[in-house]
Every structure is written in structure tokens, then in C-alpha cells.
Amino acid sequence: MALTKEQIAQRIAKEVKDGYYVNLGIGIPTLVANYVRDDIEVDFQSENGILGMGPFPYEGQEDADLINAGKQTITSLPGASFFDSAMSFSMIRGQHVDLTILGAMEVAQNGDIANWKIPGKMVKGMGGAMDLVSSAENIIVAMMHTNRAGQSKLLKECSLPLTGVKCVKKIVTDLCVLEIVDGKFKLLERAPGVSVDDIKAATEGDLIIEGDIPEMKI
């Protein structure tokens, strides 16, 4: 069975290691924070200017001066710091952030990503995504395998305006975990109950399928 968004977040959380500084994009990535093992120490950075982001505040304790990049009210944890936007992107551009998790509209098999614009239809802007994907050494994309029309979001080439080139390393979708290897999507894990054929059918890009593909553990 395909994963829920919560389960995608849960699977990605296993990629987060002790001592990591992590930037979480809006949407599914935000949920990852809920599933990180509590015996490791992870600092969440939000590009609007906080390192050491904590959970949502208790009712009535929200502070308009304390939000994340998704404009949601948040809290800060002990050891947190606040800073301006230039310093925030010093962290990002300077490759001090260890892991970036973000959503996408399309990912190409060479690692290109598109997630900020549908010409003539939707233009929300790139926010910090272009800085993040052009700088991060470790990028995981969290997204549904197909769009609402049922079309594959894992393509030979992106059709939408790019956010970044050859930058995505790993993709976790509702169907599987993939890695970009030699300009193709290498299948690493299947969602429980999802077959290799299901994944093939839902993927427009070229897949590398070697040996038995294990079911993922969540």
C-alpha cells in the first residue's frame, strides 16, 4: 500500500543522523521533525532566522515574533539562536547545514528539480529553495510519486522551470525510496505491499533495478 504523507516523513526521519543541522521545507518535510529518534540530537534551521526550532507552542503561548519559514507559530529549544536573513543563508550557502529536505513538483533522473513555478498558471516564487538546492550537499526530496492527474513526477527531463540542476541525491515518495545514480533513478526500497511493477508503471524516468528490492521499514 502506498505511504501516507506522514509515513513518507517517518521514512525520511531515518536519514537524519546525530548532530545534524537540518533544514525542512514546507509541506511533508515539516512533518519529519515529529519522527526523529529522541536519543539523537538534531537542530532544525528555518531560513527566516532560527536555529534550534522547537514544536508548535501550547495554545495561548504563540508569539507573532516567532515563526518558521512556513509562517507557522513555533517555539525555540534550549541552545537556539536568532539571526538575520543574510546570516541564515550564510549557513545554507556556506554548506553548514547537513541535510535539506524539500518538496518538488518534478525531479529528473539527472537530479534536476522543479518546484517553484507553472508558467502562466501558478507562480509562488522560489523562496529559499534555489539557495538550498544549489548549496546543499545532501538533499532529499519528499513528494508523492505522481501528480493529481496521475502523471509521474519522476521524469527523464523536467518540463517545468528548474529550481536547481543536478542537485537531488535521494527521493522518498509514497511508493519507494530512490537514489540518483549515473543519471538514473536507482530503486532502493519499496513501500510495503507496493511491487516493482507498480513503481515501474508510475515512473517516467529510467529506473535502475538491481536484485531484490527490499520493503522499507518504518
Binding site: S46, E47, N48, G49, I50, P55, F56, P57, Y58, E59, G60, Q61, E62, D63, A64, D65, L66, I67, N68, A69, G70, K71, Q72, T73, I74, S76, F82, F83, D84, S85, A86, S88, F89, I92, R93, D112, W116, G120, K121, M122, V123, K124, G125, M126, G127, G128, A129, M130, D131, S134, S135, P161, L162, T163, G164, V165
Partner: protein, 232 residues
């Protein structure tokens, strides 16, 4: 004795004219110069080029100026919260230049710092880099980006003193510090204005040299865009 303190927002905005380029601090509705925006709305200043990370929401922040079509061109990184914005943009009633957020911050800081241009990896290989010089340093490609030029910069701080020194609070800091001194005239509105000497010189985020006018804002609504809470 020259003083930076101005009486109110009317005095703070003197000199703002149609057709100017203006920077606005804030991220979403967090840390925006509410009083200055309201005044520009009242004054009905036209044909503005606005540099701001976001464009407010339909009825608050820069959305107020959008509603009255006071904005000729918007330079921003993310405008997804504002339906009227998207409409004006897609209908080509307004010019829009979308800039990666880190590049936006750095182009402001470059203006503040007298750096005319710098290389950044953001946007390489995308339409952001179209028409711009690119160059390889090491094994990576970069885009040359230039400092912004602006007439006014409106910022909002938590505390300030009569020497123009500013201290920001929490994530309301965001773009405010990098816009100070990035325009010809920087106007700071603060929640609390104290006499010079009351702030710890070691804890000042922006020294007064970057600020030309300062005033205590009459009212700060501080609207929350996305209220997210846990149950106790």
C-alpha cells in the same frame, strides 16, 4: 544638535515620492514596518518598486498597497500568500522579479556594505541566471548578482535608541537588519524607543550609523499568518 528621532510616521515618511524604489523588512507578516506601510497607503504614493521578501496578504502588509495598485514592480522571493498579487502578476498588471531568498538578502547586504556585485550558486542553470554572467570557481558554477539600489528602506525593530541603534526580537529580525543602510534613507519604527545609552553596546544588532530616522510606532497589530498550536 542633529536628531534622528522623528515625532511620528508622517514625519518619518517625508520625502517619499511616486516612482521610488523602497525596501521593506519582514518575513511574511512577521517584523514588517506596519506603521510605514499604513502611511504609504494613506499618502497613496504611486508607481512604487518594492523590494520585500513577501508581498503581504490581501488585507495586510504590502497587500494594502497592492489592493490600491500602488505597486508598479515587486521584487520578492515568495508571494504565495496573496491571491490579488498572483492575479495582478498573471494578468501582467504589475511587473514582478522573483529572486532567490538568499540572493535577495545578500543583494541588500551588498548595498549596505558597498559591495557592487558578488557571485552566488543560487539560480545557476535556471531562468534566474538568464542574461547574467556565470563563472566556475573550483568545480561549481556561480551567478553574478548586483547590489540593490533603493531610495528608502523601512524597517521594524523591537527596541531602538535616539542614536538609531536597533535590537530585533526573535524571527522578526529576518530582512530588517540587512536593509538598514541599504537605501539612501533608512527609517526604523520600533516598539520601544529609549534614550541613547540605555541599550547595552554589546547587544546592538544594527548600529545607529545605518539608520537616518527612528520613531516609536503608534500601534503594532502583529498579525499571525498561520496560527499553529499544540494542546496542553
Amino acid at each position: 544638535m542633529i536628531t534622528k528621532t522623528v515625532k511620528d510616521v508622517h514625519e518619518a515618511c517625508r520625502g517619499v515620492q511616486d516612482g521610488m524604489t523602497i525596501m521593506f523588512g519582514g518575513f511574511g507578516l512577521c517584523g514588517i514596518p506596519e506603521n510605514a506601510i499604513a502611511e504609504l497607503d494613506r499618502l497613496n504614493i504611486q508607481n512604487l518598486t518594492c523590494i520585500s521578501n513577501n508581498a503581504g496578504v490581501d488585507d495586510f502588509g504590502l497587500g494594502l498597497l497592492l489592493r490600491k495598485k500602488q505597486i508598479k514592480k515587486m521584487i520578492a522571493s515568495y508571494v504565495g500568500e496573496n491571491a490579488e498579487f498572483e492575479r495582478q502578476m498573471l494578468a501582467e498588471e504589475m511587473e514582478v522579479e522573483l529572486v532567490p531568498q538568499g540572493t535577495l538578502a545578500q543583494r541588500c547586504q551588498a548595498a549596505q556594505s558597498g559591495i557592487p556585485a558578488f557571485f552566488t550558486p543560487a539560480g545557476y542553470g535556471t531562468e534566474v541566471a538568464e542574461g547574467k554572467e556565470t563563472r566556475k570557481f573550483g568545480d561549481k558554477h556561480y551567478v553574478l548578482e548586483e547590489a540593490f539600489k533603493a531610495d528608502f528602506s523601512f524597517v521594524k525593530a523591537w527596541k531602538g535608541d535616539t542614536a538609531g541603534n536597533l535590537i530585533f526580537k526573535g524571527t522578526a529580525r529576518n530582512f530588517n537588519p540587512v536593509m538598514c543602510g541599504a537605501a539612501k534613507i533608512t527609517v526604523a519604527e520600533v516598539e520601544e524607543l529609549v534614550p541613547a545609552g540605555e541599550l547595552d553596546p554589546n547587544q546592538i544588532h544594527i548600529p545607529g550609523i545605518f539608520v537616518q530616522r527612528i520613531f516609536q510606532g503608534e500601534k503594532f497589530e502583529k498579525r499571525i499568518e498561520q496560527l499553529t498550536v499544540r494542546k496542553k
